[in-house]
Amino acid sequence: MSAGNRPPFRLDRLEPLLVPAVVFSISMIAFSFGKTPFSRLIVNLEQQFSRNVFLVLALIIPVVAGLGLNFAVVVGAMAGQLAILTAEDRGWSGGSGLLGALGLAVALGGLAGLPTGALLNRARGREMICGLIFGYFASGVYQFLLLILAGPVLPFSSQRLLLPSGVGLRSTLDLKSMGQAVPGLWAYLLLLGLAVLLLSWLFRTKLGQDWRAVGLNRHVAAVAGIAVERTRLLAMVFSTVLGAAGQVLYLQDFSTLNTYTQHDQVGFYAVAALLVGGATVQRATVLHAVLGTALFHLLILTAVPAMAQLVGNSQIEEYCRELFVFLIIGVSLVVHAWRAGRQST
């Protein structure tokens, strides 16, 4: 990874391509050493891509609006989990069931996005760490909702979801009625097309222009008459809504839900994927998200088994995967801060 993130001295022109190119090269080298057959790799990659791309798309708006990498996307993921749990409890299924779950996810995500945005407005300059910790905090609220209120207060009634005592949800659930609601790759591509159109349209609206303006320079934007705080708040609401919908799409394909822990790693993986596509803390596009998701999962699918094979110990795979994720994010942050420091001196 390190080579891909070397600070650019004379490579400024090629820089946007640098990270994706290096990641692609590493993946190809790893693939040539590994034992995974090509057809298998393509099938896995297609699956990982269609599952994850929507969560990565959810991260673009906050970057554009100057809030940085949105680690609070886990709040959206939790809202999505609540939505799919409700859908499962009601026995919704098929296309209409999926639409219902997505609608619910949008509503819950919007609701959850408001406090997130309000909090980040109070933590200017520290949005990323604040969003990260808020994800942990929200996890406590989520546990309270699903462990203690689900049943007596929240109207869950399916015996398959509830614990035998009637209070609290089981910790692992098979999503039987919501499972595999999107019929195939063509449907994912259709959804992806819709999501991309939606985002492109959003960025052309007045609100989208305001996000750009606030992201470029908050003070200038304020002078130009933009309600900065409201614009940032809406950026978080939209991101959380997209995150909630993204988690619904992820889970219906995954078909199993670890009720209390599923969201834990969502933020890290999505952020790493966005960065691999060539995005930075201050710049992200739809292309970065789509390319990044494909490349990130290509890297994980090839380099992780190759490392394990090299070391001769398959137990390292899990840690290797995490190390890749944390290094990608860590190095990107270092480069961002480094560059910001150089510009200001």
Binding site: L119, I148, S165, L323, G330, L333, W338
Partner: protein, 375 residues
């Protein structure tokens, strides 16, 4: 030293007082044992909280990179255990000293590298520190799996390679600090009313050595902060420009603060492990960072100001809450649920409460430091 009493602290103090009052009033809970647990937990986690003081004072903010020190501490412990098995060290105090020395050395070395990194990322110290911690733990997990440790009690029985997830410290330096100066229970006194406890679990009510070690570390740190270097360190955080004019270089002082913090975290992990009686490797050390951060903030520290006293008081407050809330809530549930299975769900409440209070205090501090100038 001023202790600003703010609303969150007052609410928390009331909560703690209420819990301990309930514990004292309950017929099912052994108050003495709970108090002993509280003291033990304070001593075990106290040094982690102290480790946060130097970077806060030097203007680097919260050191979310504490796990870097933790893995140094764990490496010190397992290396000392391996060396003992190979006959290079005696058990007990020599082994503990060896583990601590290795841990502090490794911690200081890693801390130096980490400090050099932080120098280049001004304004993003918190986030970079957080990811340094995460990446270090993941990288070290790979090292644990392939490092050439050979002692059979340390490694997986199959394959001849890879340190175990959990390694008992029995026969090494288990509880050597906790039991320091303790000669056993007086004849005839029950260890706990009603319950016969295993002798291995027997422990003094007051872990004098452990608490002494924590307080000594605190005093040493406070003493250091009063020396020339210590004052220069605090000046680097309080007023960098003034520090520069006064001839105290800001970068070396920040470096020193990070090295101190990482070394203290490493030493704290050795102390923690001896108390726990277990070495927990892989992802386990990640769980100790945020509680330490919450503790110092509960003690009244802010992103810009922290004292040793705040670290000591914060550790006491936070651990007193963590120790007492699960048994008290469970006891209340059991007494008043009258066999209703549905109320058992409330037994999850202490854990949820811990998550909310811990992260709530961190968020409170992060949103109150005033807007940081964006770079």
């Amino acid at each position: 030293m001023r202790m600003p009493l703010q609303v969150p602290q007052i609410i928390l103090a009331a909560l703690i007082a209420a819990f301990w009052g309930l514990a004292a009033a309950s017929p099912n809970l052994d108050f003495r044992q709970l108090a002993g647990d509280g003291l033990l937990r304070i001593g075990m986690n106290g040094i982690f909280v102290l480790a946060l003081v130097p970077p806060l004072r030097a203007g680097l903010g919260i050191n979310f990179g504490l796990p870097l020190g933790f893995i140094a501490g764990l490496a010190g412990v397992v290396t000392a255990m391996e060396l003992r098995q190979r006959g290079w060290s005696a058990g007990g105090w020599p082994e503990f000293t060896l583990a601590a020395a290795l841990a502090v050395t490794a911690g200081a070395a890693l801390g130096y590298g980490y400090a050099r990194l932080l120098e280049r990322v001004q304004g993003q110290e918190l986030m970079v520190g957080f990811y340094v911690g995460l990446a270090a733990v993941a990288a070290m997990s790979i090292v644990w799996l392939i490092a050439p440790y050979r002692s059979p009690e340390l490694i997986y029985p199959i394959g001849g390679q890879g340190l175990k997830q959990t390694i008992p410290l029995e026969g090494h330096f288990e509880k050597i600090l906790d039991h320091w100066g303790w000669t056993g229970w007086p004849e005839g006194e029950p260890l706990a009313p009603g319950a016969a406890r295993a002798p291995a679990e027997a422990r003094p009510l007051v872990p004098a050595g452990l608490l002494g070690c924590w307080l000594a570390a605190g005093l040493a740190l406070a003493g250091f902060l009063r020396t020339r270097a210590g004052i220069a360190l605090s000046m680097a955080g309080g007023n960098p420009r003034f520090a520069h004019i006064a001839g105290a270089g800001v970068p070396p002082m920040r470096r020193l603060a990070v090295v101190l913090s990482t070394a203290l975290a490493a030493f704290g992990m050795v102390v923690f492990v001896q108390s726990l009686g277990l070495v927990q490797l892989y992802k386990a050390p990640l769980g100790n960072t945020l509680p330490a951060v919450a503790a110092i903030l509960i003690g009244g520290a802010t992103l810009k100001r922290a004292t040793v006293l705040q670290a000591l008081v914060g550790a006491i407050f936070f651990q007193l809450l963590l120790v007492v809330s699960p048994p008290v809530i469970n006891d209340l549930v059991q007494r008043y649920s009258a066999g209703r299975e549905s109320l058992r769900a409330l037994e999850n409440l202490p854990d949820i409460l811990r998550v909310l209070i811990l992260n709530g205090f961190i968020l409170y501090a992060l949103t109150r430091g005033g807007p940081e100038e964006e770079r």
